[in-house]
Subunit: 399 residues, 2 copies
Amino acid sequence: MLTPDSLDTTPEAAVGVAGPVPGHPGVYRVMVTTSLGDAYPVEVGPGILRRLPELLEERAQAHRYVVIGDKQVMRFHAHRLGTVLEDAGLRVDSVEFPEGEEHKTRTEWARLTDTLLKLGVGRDGCVLALGGGVTGDLAGFVAATYMRGVPVVQLPTSLVAMVDSSVGGKTGVDVPAGKNLVGAFHPPRLVLADTDLTRTLPRAERSQGLVEAVKHGAIADGDYLARIQELAPRLLEGEENSTAQIVIRSVEIKAGVVSRDEREGGLRQVLNFGHTLGHALEAASEYRLPHGTAVAVGMVLEARLGERLGVTRSGTARHLEAVARALDVPVAPPPGLPLEKALDHLKRDKKVRGGEVRFVLLDEPGQVHRGEAGSEAWSHPVPARLVREVLQSSGSVDD
Amino acid sequence: MLTPDSLDTTPEAAVGVAGPVPGHPGVYRVMVTTSLGDAYPVEVGPGILRRLPELLEERAQAHRYVVIGDKQVMRFHAHRLGTVLEDAGLRVDSVEFPEGEEHKTRTEWARLTDTLLKLGVGRDGCVLALGGGVTGDLAGFVAATYMRGVPVVQLPTSLVAMVDSSVGGKTGVDVPAGKNLVGAFHPPRLVLADTDLTRTLPRAERSQGLVEAVKHGAIADGDYLARIQELAPRLLEGEENSTAQIVIRSVEIKAGVVSRDEREGGLRQVLNFGHTLGHALEAASEYRLPHGTAVAVGMVLEARLGERLGVTRSGTARHLEAVARALDVPVAPPPGLPLEKALDHLKRDKKVRGGEVRFVLLDEPGQVHRGEAGSEAWSHPVPARLVREVLQSSGSVDD
């Protein structure tokens, strides 16, 4: 049994500390505060989908609910979810979209919106986003903009959604110019991560999903990073207690960060570690490179940038490589990836300020480098020449 | 010269009281608070567009600015605005869209977004929405969703935008199922209403724009309603001091309401007075009925609903009719309008809660009827039968 004492809680995560839910052994709750001053719970545990009606009553009362999910997830989980809600006397509709990041578009957002309008859903409706990162973003953006905003509840089914994307209120869609360039901050009323749902995940998806947990370790908790490496074999097999432990610790770290800076003005930037180069590599691959791999390579290269600048403790990049390898995630861009395109893409990054690309850098594993006080303290301009060098040398590090 | 003492300030508007801007005779500022706890100024006065660089420096510093406006407004005002900003050394681009409510669509929103992406505007950009209500909504929604939100400054050029739509943070677009059904709350950093810009407005547009001021009087200030009626001839001619006085008082009332309830959970509903039936009539006319006329008719009919229910003082509907007539605005739906379609549309209204249509009702001109405490206190369910009766009898009241 997992106990709160078994979780390392660094001072950084003080506002997001997991506590047991009384009367529900194995279930933990982490609170996340939003920029509006309110707070929502993230509950993690095995089989807790059945707690949903009770939690909706507590956190997201609505005249009716609409489950949004992709066809594949709906095939797996919609029946059970529908039964749980209908048994509780709640009014539920389900709306599907085709699976895959290529459907996280304005077109699909418009189609889902029009479907909700056709169903006659009013402002007193509530969206239940059932699925992985794509669904959380897309259904979240539908909720964010439906009649200027209806509540959304995040019901992550993938590991990456549980450890990361379901928490923090980011929603959005991809556009031809890049990923997530259109969206809104729309904090959920509730996040419910039923770790039982991860049982059916393929090993490769587990592997990819755990990369965001590695990032949490890299930016906030060196011991956690070591623990992920140690638990890697069990995590890849889907062993439940280890999985729940990782989800809870990652949610704590993420909750701690976003509670203090929901809108990315300052501290939240640290969550971009590995993502600035990661996104550029993904774009250069025309999104054939899986997100987890892209972020893993991004973290290794951004650690190397820090090492080259004399900011990051030598060996940090190697350490991150080792953890990623333990999770079976490649740590170098695939041969033939057009690195020039990645460099072009960097210039269009959302995080560009005043035309200059900024990076989150580490002091060492578990600790982000902090500059002067102020909102810019969490990221640092890096000369374009150095970025080019590190990126070009990365091709030689073969996996 | 207008002085603050010449403005009636009801207790309701206490949080939004106009004060003179020192050193700028004739310029008044009203503060509006948002649900995030911050506040933005609305400045009103003749020729104050030249104050824009100073106000941007104070309220919306950005790496670059993008003016969004329709072709017609840009033809009139873009040159002057561009000169003012460039003389101050600011980097400015302009983006146009075709004029008319029929372009307040997801398609135009996507096109404008893609244009900003093509220009390489980053998160440190700021949108300047130059125009009437359509532009404020559309450009505001572009800003609300561009990279999950960039700042917007509202520069209203029409009377309806100055007295009403530029204040309060509502943004959005129309969809086939209805108006404003997709959108976001995105409070501006600053609203600057240069009353000089209203000089070139056609009389019919003035007339339409003043309907929202009538609504402000109807819900919050009976004396203001009387003043609008008295000033009507001068307002329709575009007399400057009267126009400024009306803009300021309306901004005070609107600011007072939205400061206490930005997101329409409670008090803000009072701003829907006249709009529930008004929107239904607009929709039934396939948006051939001008918005101002629709709202004027809506106010008269909703006042009549209240009278029929014994809630609203007898004679209130007649009083509102008289003010609308003084402004040359029709007070009955045009002959042949399919009222059955309006009733259908009501059922799909955003304000429907639990399947029941609710209306804001008046006690008397200047005072909204308040029910039991709680968020539902500001609107009241009205039997469908009564709505049908009042709507059907309205055809006989000819203008």
